[in-house]
Amino acid sequence: MSPADCRCGLCCITPPLMLESIIQRAKRPSLKRWAEDTLAVTRSLREARLSATAPDPEPEMALRRRPEGKQRAVYSARQGQLLPGALIRPEGAPPTGDPAVDEAFDGAGATYDFLKTVFGRAGIDGRDMRIVSTVHYGRGYDNAFWNGKQMVYGDGDGEVFLRFTRSLDVIGHELAHGVTEHTSGLVYWEQPGALNEHFADVIGSLVKQWRLGQKAEDADWLIGAELLGPELRQPPGHAVALRSLKAPGTAYDDPLLGRDPQPAHMKDLYKGHADSGGVHINSGIPNLVFHRVAVALGGHAWEKAGRIWWRAFTEPGRMSPRASFREAAKETIDCAGLLFGTREARLVAAAWDEVGVVPQGVRKPGTRPGARTAAAPKQAEPRTTAPKQAEPKKAEPKKAEPKKAEPKKAGAKKSTAKTAGAARPKTAAPKTAARKAAAKPPAKRKPAPKPPAAPPALAARRPSPTRRA
């Protein structure tokens, strides 16, 4: 590869090759973990740099005043890999008869309309940036992706996968990656990356449900069902989609595809290096949470569950770029309470509890008060009871209370000056760690566990609330 082909112009003092060697050869788990985390940070920086330096598909548009409203443009790469390719259908142009072009055009429009109508969002960046899509990318290319500036769709091989514009949820999924880039900036690695993928699946599924007018209980909750080719519809294999939000791990079990690896609980969390630390794999856990919340709340999934998730994942200063599942649980519970009330917050908390995620700010069972929380991937054993964020009178605080402080005086319902500092009466409603976490303003979010020796530039890249819409 010539230097001219290298598009990741990020130079770090510790080369990735050295870090990978340490990962392979280190005997101490802590050393191996440090190298893995450092490599993840450098990869995330490269990803950010790559996104920022992805070629502007329409540089000439930068000279023009940006119009308001939906502005789409679909290009064709004509089986090549040069982006954006040749302009085929600009905004306002009639259908072309090319299914890939027209599906990309219509799907982008449906996603824009959904974001605008339901969340009041003006497109990907909140300022009506042009929605650029390129179809017919590569030869038999079995994929679709967001490159930081535009969507790109392959035609599939025609046997295992059909063209990737066939699935409205996939189109919505790709556009949602753009929204994430302009809002939370979730790093594409391990749990933050799985949350990035999860949010994209949620938006993709909601766009489809909204377009079809489906209620949560009637939706199929599948991603990419329309992409599967004739090879995957032959027995003895089973394949219905790329992923299922309703039943992670069941979308396929096929000789060609293998078995759907998505877990439905933290105890089965994937901890390998493939797939950027399992971003498409572990997204199954929060996907299931969202499905359960949507069905439990009833009605259309975008009306309540969608709004909760939208606020949690896009509100400035809320979700941090390196958020863990625990942070996402905390933020979604908080937003449910803020937007709707205690009942909704409890439902969200219960859904996270069912998949084994303890919200940030809630002490994990078996840990001491004030004990340092473990790193994000090392989740505690599933709780047997919900965190009960909205139930301050529940028994959890008793674990933090010294037993000797229980007042013995008969009829003593009020604390006195002597006992106030020593004990709290049973009738009091002590603040739990969960309530403290819920009471904190969004700006005081706790950062996700950071790897050692994080580059100073990472802190400077945290999005400012005023910059992101």
Binding site: R49, L50, E197, L227, D275, S276
Partner: protein, 96 residues
């Protein structure tokens, strides 16, 4: 000027085995394949050898990533991670 050689320099061990694990993509599918090294051209062998010292690239949303396991004739094994954007043209048919 006569050609100079380093004392004690040993020629690099030839490529013995090559396997690729592709992950990522919008489907997040894991696909493993073993490459027949005997069918590789000289250019492809050189590109494989250069992989270890090339920048790995960045895995953007829904891009493919490749875990390449290179086994040399002397038994040494090296695992290299390559992002889709960083795949050398000579290896485009192998890393796909």
């Amino acid at each position: 000027m006569p050609e100079r050689t380093r004392r004690g320099a040993t020629p690099p061990s030839p490529l013995a085995a090559l396997s690729v694990l592709r992950s990522g993509g919008v489907g997040g599918l894991l696909r493993r394949r073993t490459v027949d090294v005997a069918s590789l051209s000289a250019e492809q062998r050189a590109a494989v050898a250069a992989l270890a010292s090339s920048p790995p690239g960045a895995a953007g949303p829904d891009r493919f990533t490749f875990e390449v396991t290179i086994t040399l004739a002397d038994g040494t094994t090296r695992v290299v991670h390559v992002a889709e954007d960083a795949v050398p043209p000579a290896l485009a048919d192998i890393l796909r």
